[in-house]
């Protein structure tokens, strides 16, 4: 039974990490509709109101109105992401974001008998972009942005598979961690 006949026609996002592609496959398997990084939330502003920092959760589940953020970095390295998430929750209390840590993702892999893939799907080994480059995207002025068009799931898989062995993603400009918060 296919509950969402459009699943096979969905556009393939350019997943930044192999773990995201795997989570997308799990969501597809259970017919949970998802969008990849469809919305960007400004979370840090300067005195003039210009956006200094923003946060784009990895997945949005439109039927459930929930965002998923997946981080497979080691626990001691997720402090910055935790801070961004806390800030997002302060500024957008109506937005639900679930943060899946590395241990949560490993538990998922274990549950589905894929723990042996943890090495290539988590941490630096699964990344196609160095962490600083990916997290420091140029800020946007408004939130949320319009959802990105979808690509086919087969295309998504092919891209994700390719990214397991291919590095390189355009480098974005940075955003300061210690900028003054006025919002």
């Amino acid at each position: 039974m296919v509950l969402d006949a459009d699943l096979d026609r969905r556009p393939a996002p350019a997943f930044a990490h192999a773990s995201e592609a795997e989570l997308a496959r799990i969501l597809d398997f259970y017919a949970v509709a998802w969008e990849y990084e469809p919305h960007t939330f400004p979370i840090l502003f300067d005195r003039s109101g210009a956006v200094l920092e923003s946060f784009s959760p990895d997945f949005y589940l439109p039927e459930l109105d929930v965002y998923l953020e997946l981080t497979t970095l080691k626990q001691r390295l997720v402090r910055k992401k935790n801070r961004k998430l806390r800030r997002l929750r302060e500024l957008y209390p109506g937005v639900t974001v679930k943060l899946l840590y590395s241990r949560d993702f490993r538990a998922l892999l274990f549950k589905y008998g894929k723990l042996s893939l943890a090495g290539v799907l988590t941490g630096a080994d699964g990344q196609t972009t160095p962490p600083r480059e990916r997290s420091e995207r140029p800020p946007v002025a408004s939130a949320p942005t319009r959802p990105r068009p979808r690509r086919s799931r087969a295309e998504a898989r092919a891209r994700a598979a390719a990214r397991l062995t291919t590095a390189g993603r355009p480098t974005a400009t940075g955003t300061p961690d210690d900028a003054e918060v006025t919002a």
């Binding site: 509950l3 496959r25 259970y30 589940l61 679930k98 899946l100 589905y112 008998g113």
Partner: protein, 188 residues
């Protein structure tokens, strides 16, 4: 060499004793009997882990009930590579059209399978559709689902017994225990 499971030594801790489980099952049975009095109730259990809970729960319910069993493929299983979508391996034997349906689960963690089942069963036009689970592990939740009857909320540990398995073993334990990590981290 494959490690040989040991039903005693592989359990690091008994999380829920047989007595605790049976007391909770009786309590749930009483509540369900009261709530569904005078209505046509069908219990739908999801194989295989729910079997012990289903067997005990149905016998603790004091009103007439019908039972049915379903089985769905799991991500990572043999069906994954062929279709990429969850499959109903065993469908309902009888119609639930117009009946009051209670899904009986052993454990809810991510909520992904249950979310799928709820949507699937809603398509079969039950009068009502509710959820009963013996164990709830909210720390692993990805899809939030309203649980109508909850036995125990448990911590984020790998549990076995009373239907729950690791590698198809340990289901026959009469309690719910925590599996020693060395069993699944270094199985050989």
């Amino acid at each position: 060499m494959t490690r040989r499971p040991d039903l005693t030594a592989d359990v690091s801790e008994i999380l829920l004793s047989e007595e605790q489980i049976q007391a909770k099952v009786l309590e749930l049975g009483r509540r369900i009997s009261d709530d569904y009095a005078g209505r046509e109730l069908t219990l739908v259990s999801v194989l295989k882990g729910s079997l012990p809970f289903m067997a005990d729960l149905m016998r603790s319910i004091t009103i007439p009930v019908q039972i049915d069993l379903m089985e769905v493929s799991s991500y990572g299983g043999a069906a994954t590579e062929s279709s990429g979508l969850v499959r109903i391996l065993k469908d309902l034997s009888s119609s639930i059209d117009g009946r009051h349906v209670l899904i009986v689960e052993d454990i809810i963690d991510t909520g992904l399978t249950l979310n799928y089942l709820v949507r699937y069963l809603r398509g079969k036009n039950p009068a009502t559709l509710k959820i009963c689970t013996l164990l709830d592990k909210p720390a692993r939740r990805i899809v939030e689902i309203a649980i109508d009857y909850r036995g125990f909320e448990i911590p984020d540990q790998f549990v076995i017994g009373y239907g729950l398995d690791y590698g198809e073993v340990y289901r026959n334990l009469r309690f719910v225990g925590v599996l020693r990590p060395e069993v699944y981290l270094d199985p050989d």
